[in-house]
């Protein structure tokens, strides 16, 4: 989970890394109040999850209240680089002598955390890399022992005492709070020789969140800062029940075919195949790891609870250990609760433990209750079943022209 800058500063503070004093505002009134507690010049920053907001005009210095308020009014509730702005932070401008770059993340090839450092802070690391790769230095970290003070001092050739101290604190935050990325760009060296985090970018490891229920973090959507109602509901399914997973990843699109995929790999294949066949998925989601029927039922209900649908695709690879009867029983239970009753085609393509039993059950339900369900077993490749779904959905749209609005 990606964090807002101000949430990042709070985590840095827990490791003793200072930031310029800031106030987070969510309305013009709050900006007016906050500005009284600060001296001009004031730095206003739009709080969004997308990077490079500075370049896009999301970070500005102000010497007068009027301009500051205009800036705030322009952004609150408005779209900024595809994201709705909920917060603007204000802080006092700090005099900086030098700017550095430092981050810690995982090297997926070496399978180790590593620190990235540059004396050229303040600009995007990708740009520094393009300009002159020799300006970037890396330091591999043994995750069990952590970085050693004396090795760090050797690594930073200048300002080594303060930089090694900063790196140790950064590592402390990274390892203590299960972070996937911690990036401070720039780190500012103040006139009195202290280092301050002028910015903070943090990505939490979702698998580690269970250990940090005390962190005060706002819920985030799958691809934007503000989750949709369905995303919130879907995420809650896994929070309430640890068995298997269902709905942890739920991304909404404006298509008309609901996708309930199974498995991390198969779900990607399903989405690609639907799109290649000319279909428009209404969402991306995935359930796997043998979740109980209730979890699939909840996910089904959440995903199908929307208008303008022309199909529902339940597809996954041949399961190894997921009980297909249980999960499809969950799907059917969920389907029954959807109002109005779905009349669009439903394509199911599954295989694995108890699949045949599950299909017998579904055939009976479909006949008795009048659902348009098309069943495909493991002999039909996933991609072919996805093509079938798109054909059926297109037919349905032709028969129900008012869907095309």
């Amino acid at each position: 989970m990606k964090l807002y800058e101000f949430e990042g500063h709070r985590i840095l503070a827990k490791a003793g890394i200072e930031s310029p004093f800031f106030i987070v505002c969510s309305s013009i009134d709050e900006v007016k109040q906050a500005r009284k507690r600060l001296k001009f010049p004031i730095v206003a920053k739009v709080q969004v999850l997308t990077g490079r907001r500075g370049k896009a005009g999301g970070v500005k210095f102000f010497t007068k209240e009027k301009q500051l308020l205009t800036f705030a009014k322009e952004h609150f509730g408005q779209d900024f680089m595809g994201e709705k702005v909920r917060f603007v932070s204000l802080s006092q401008k700090v005099e900086i002598k030098k700017e550095y770059y430092m981050s810690i993340t995982y090297d997926t090839v070496k399978k180790l955390p590593f620190l990235i450092f540059s004396f050229q802070g303040g600009i995007d690391i990708e740009e520094i890399k393009k300009k002159d790769p020799s300006l970037i230095k890396t330091f591999d970290i043994d995750p069990i022992s952590g970085p050693k003070d004396k090795d760090l001092a050797k690594f930073f050739e200048q300002d080594k005492t303060v930089l090694a101290d900063f790196a140790l604190r950064l590592w402390d935050a990274f390892s203590r709070y299960d972070l996937r990325l911690i990036e401070v760009n720039p780190i500012g060296l103040t006139a009195d020789g202290y280092l301050m985090a002028i910015d903070a970018k943090i990505i939490l490891d979702d698998a580690g969140l269970l250990r940090h229920r005390d962190l005060d973090i706002l819920p985030k959507g799958a691809i934007s800062a503000i989750p949709t109602d369905r995303e919130i509901l879907a995420k809650k399914i896994d929070e309430d029940d640890y068995r298997g997973s269902a709905g942890s990843t739920f991304i909404e699109f404006d298509g008309d075919v609901v996708v309930l995929a199974s498995g991390g790999g198969a779900s990607l294949l399903v989405m690609d195949s639907v799109i290649d066949a000319g279909g428009r998925p209404a969402n991306y989601t995935e359930y796997s790891g043998n979740p109980p029927a209730e979890k699939v039922q909840k996910l089904t209900k959440i995903a199908l609870d929307r208008e303008g649908l022309s199909g529902c695709l339940v597809a996954g690879a041949v399961a190894n250990f997921t009980d297909i009867y249980e999960t499809l029983r969950g799907f059917i239970e969920g389907l029954r609760q959807v109002r109005p009753k779905p009349t669009y085609p439903i394509v199911i393509r599954r295989g694995g433990p108890r699949q045949e039993e599950a299909y017998e059950m579904i055939k009976k339900v479909a006949k008795r209750e009048g659902f348009d369900i098309h069943l495909f077993g493991p002999e039909t490749p996933i991609s072919v079943a996805c093509q079938k779904m798109v054909e059926l959905a297109n037919d349905y749209k032709i028969r129900n022209p008012k869907l095309e609005s």
Partner: protein
């Protein structure tokens, strides 16, 4: 021959008394795998399906003798301690089935394993099967013969479901598999595509390898380098999934923790690197059997 697992492989299961531990024990015994011991702290002295349960890995080894593989089937936040115990006991291969293991714990386990000279498969790995020989983990579930058959094709996927899916596709087209391995979908994993290709290169039973690649990470680029350096010389067929995701914002994670949009290499970079190196990139999933036929006749 095959890789990772054969008829003689001796297995220990950590978390054997849990729901999935009990299930996998019976599946492995049915397949003929030698499950020689189980471990659940506090439950020593019990039995699961005739397999003796011990309180610790060291106690188990003292009683039943050396084992080749430890399988970790415990809750996510206990996985680190369990895997560390197996590594300390120098068990040659530690298979971590556990999903949703925090990445920091994974890094610690892999670092300790490397120092101890222990191999790790996973986390979130469904396991490995050498059809007709043996299996570790939950691959193929209770009925592996429905999808897997003995033959000359090595199979690698991050995803457990796609291991079975590819197995079935290959079986139905008249070929079989030497070994099928699910490496797990996490950001960092103990055994990579490249590690397995080096093993498959040595394996006389493997004539070609089929892999299922995904958006995010750079394991496919590593593979391309390996082929270019001449360290893998057999036909390599790969299908890449997750094109749709490249339109999503950077850092969006999908079903697999390691499938992160914009992370390291793009799909186009992967395809180019693989093709330049001489790998066969499948455009459609269902054309894989034809590509195998062309490659190994």
């Amino acid at each position: 021959m095959a890789i990772l697992v054969d008829r003689e492989t001796r297995v220990l299961i950590q978390g054997i008394t849990g729901r999935s531990g009990v299930q996998v024990t019976s599946e492995l015994l049915d397949y003929g795998t030698k499950v020689v011991a189980g471990v659940t702290p506090g439950k020593g002295g019990q039995e699961v399906d005739t397999v003796p349960v011990f309180n610790s890995v060291s106690e188990a080894i003292k009683t039943v003798g050396e084992v080749d593989v430890a399988m970790v089937y415990v809750p996510p936040l206990s996985a680190r301690a369990a895997a560390m115990e197996a590594i300390e006991a120098k068990i040659a291969l530690v298979h971590i089935f556990v999903e949703k293991m925090p990445i920091f714990d994974v890094a610690c386990v892999l670092s300790a394993a490397q120092k101890a000279g222990v191999c790790v498969l996973g986390p979130a790995s469904v396991g490995a099967i050498s059809p007709g020989e043996g299996k570790i983990g939950s691959i193929g579930g209770p009925a592996p013969d429905n999808v897997f058959s003995k033959g000359p094709i090595g199979v690698i996927s991050r995803s457990g479901g796609m291991c079975s899916e590819l197995g079935l596709l290959i079986t139905n087209s008249g070929f079989g598999q030497s070994t099928v391995v699910g490496i797990g979908g996490d950001l960092i994993v103990g055994t990579t595509f490249s590690d397995l290709l080096i093993e498959f290169e040595q394996d006389r039973d493997t004539k070609a390898v089929v892999a299922f690649g995904e958006v995010g990470g750079s394991s496919e680029i590593e593979v391309a380098r390996l082929i270019e350096e001449g360290k893998f010389t057999k036909p390599f067929i790969i299908f890449l999934a997750g094109k749709f995701a490249e339109k999503l914002p950077r850092d969006t994670s999908l079903g697999h923790a390691g499938a992160i949009v914009g992370m390291e290499s793009t799909m186009a970079q992967k395809i180019k690197a693989l093709r330049d190196a001489g790998a066969i990139v499948a455009e459609n999933f269902e054309e894989i059997p034809d590509l195998i036929k062309k490659a190994v006749g």
